[in-house]
Symmetry: C2
Subunit: 254 residues, 2 copies
């Protein structure tokens, strides 16, 4: 008899982004696994043991949760944002691919969540109004030339670009390189949005330009949106400008 493993997206920030399905899945779980700060967002329950792990222990966490579920339990891994976007769903699938048959027998349920780019975009207007892409700047799992190639393709194609995992202590230069790369394609005045800790008390959203982006502050909790040639600002008296990419595209840009 095999159990169930739910991978639950909590959304960014506080509970405002939690869906009904995520609430129900949290309620149904007999045990919770996850990165400590994500587990901390879920109220504790005496009959629901929790297993916290570090943010570099995604493989071990997946293995522990799969082993537990394969014994017949209903367990859950909690994930920030959406578990399918640079998060736990792919990590768990990788372990299932490499693991014992018993793990394939587990009922795997992915519960989607609001991913950071949607929350940041909502804060400033409609920057993702036309075709867009999401790129992780982390070169822990892919070589930097692959990232450069994708930045070039996305910019040349006229996509709005969401940059995940922009910077960390171990990856200090990649974000600057990415802005330099995108500057080969785009005007210095291209709107850029830094969204840090959206939905949390320390939320900070900054609207800047590609020219000035290099000096804006980013950390692991920051999601960055880089506009396309069509992205523009709508100024408003007494309010922050709206950042907006029209759905219309009039011409082939290159």
């Amino acid at each position: 008899m095999s159990g169930r493993l739910s991978i639950i997206g909590l959304g960014p920030g506080d509970d405002r982004y939690l869906t009904q399905e995520a609430r129900d899945a949290l309620e149904a779980a007999e045990a919770l696994y996850g990165y400590g700060p994500y587990l901390d967002r879920v109220p504790t329950r005496e009959d629901q043991p929790r297993h916290a792990s570090g943010n570099r222990e995604e493989g071990k966490r997946s293995q522990a949760a799969l082993t537990h579920a394969a014994q017949g339990a209903h367990v859950a891994i909690v994930s920030g944002g959406d578990p399918g976007v640079f998060a736990m769903a792919a990590a768990v699938c990788g372990e299932i691919e490499r693991g014992p048959d018993a793990w394939r027998a587990v009922d795997l349920v992915v519960v989607p969540g609001i991913t950071a780019m949607l929350a940041v975009a909502a804060r400033v207007g409609a920057p993702l109004g036309h075709d867009f892409c999401a790129i992780s700047l982390s070169d822990n799992l892919k070589p930097w030339p692959v990232i450069e190639k994708r930045l070039d393709a996305a910019a040349a194609g006229g996509f709005v670009i969401a940059l995940y995992n922009p910077i960390s202590v171990a990856r200090p230069w990649q974000l600057g390189e990415a802005f330099a790369r995108l500057s080969r394609h785009h005007s210095p005045s291209t709107p850029v949005v830094f969204g840090r800790a959206v939905g949390r008390a320390d939320e900070a959203v900054t609207i800047t330009t590609l020219k000035d982006a290099a000096t804006a502050k980013a950390d692991m909790a920051t999601l960055i949106l880089v506009g396309s040639p069509e992205t523009r600002l709508i100024t408003r008296e007494g309010r922050a400008p709206l950042v907006y990419t029209p759905r219309e595209a009039a011409e082939v840009t290159a």
Copy 2:
């Protein structure tokens, strides 16, 4: 005195994807605007008049809601999925850009929702596990050559691709052309997922390949995911396969 316009993402399908923030925003609205089928998903309230409009009347709907809000009311436009992804947020921003100053004075609040690609991806595993992009196949607002250029850029860059608005009565050939275009870059065995009406009673999710995609059925309620060269299936006895794109990328593919 100016009011507020909230643009609320309901997510796809039924209420399971509704966030707490969306619930609160619906509760606070004095009047609701929206495409009829989306309004139908919100329970009626005697003190909350609703104004339904057709799915081609986005401009008129935005103007009516902005005019109402500029009179001091708290009104809301409801949107399926996420309002920022090929939906009402960009339409409203466009009207604000072209409209009277009074519309810029409105407190515009965008409430993000689960967009279709996240819900479909969750159903099948982790197809969006690495860098991905979202492209609307509708050539109502942009010329087809722009779409072709973006399909080429996305495929050559190794992105997983989510196709929104794949087909309609007025746009019968674009999806087939898109598959033909992507076949120039990708192997015939590249996994393709058709997700129709996810979260509704008539939900249908089909896993196929790029070679066979042309004969799979799609309509306006379908979201299509096309894998990258790294996307693969994990077979499972007695269960649908998982569709999975590893976070790792070993090499520059072109």
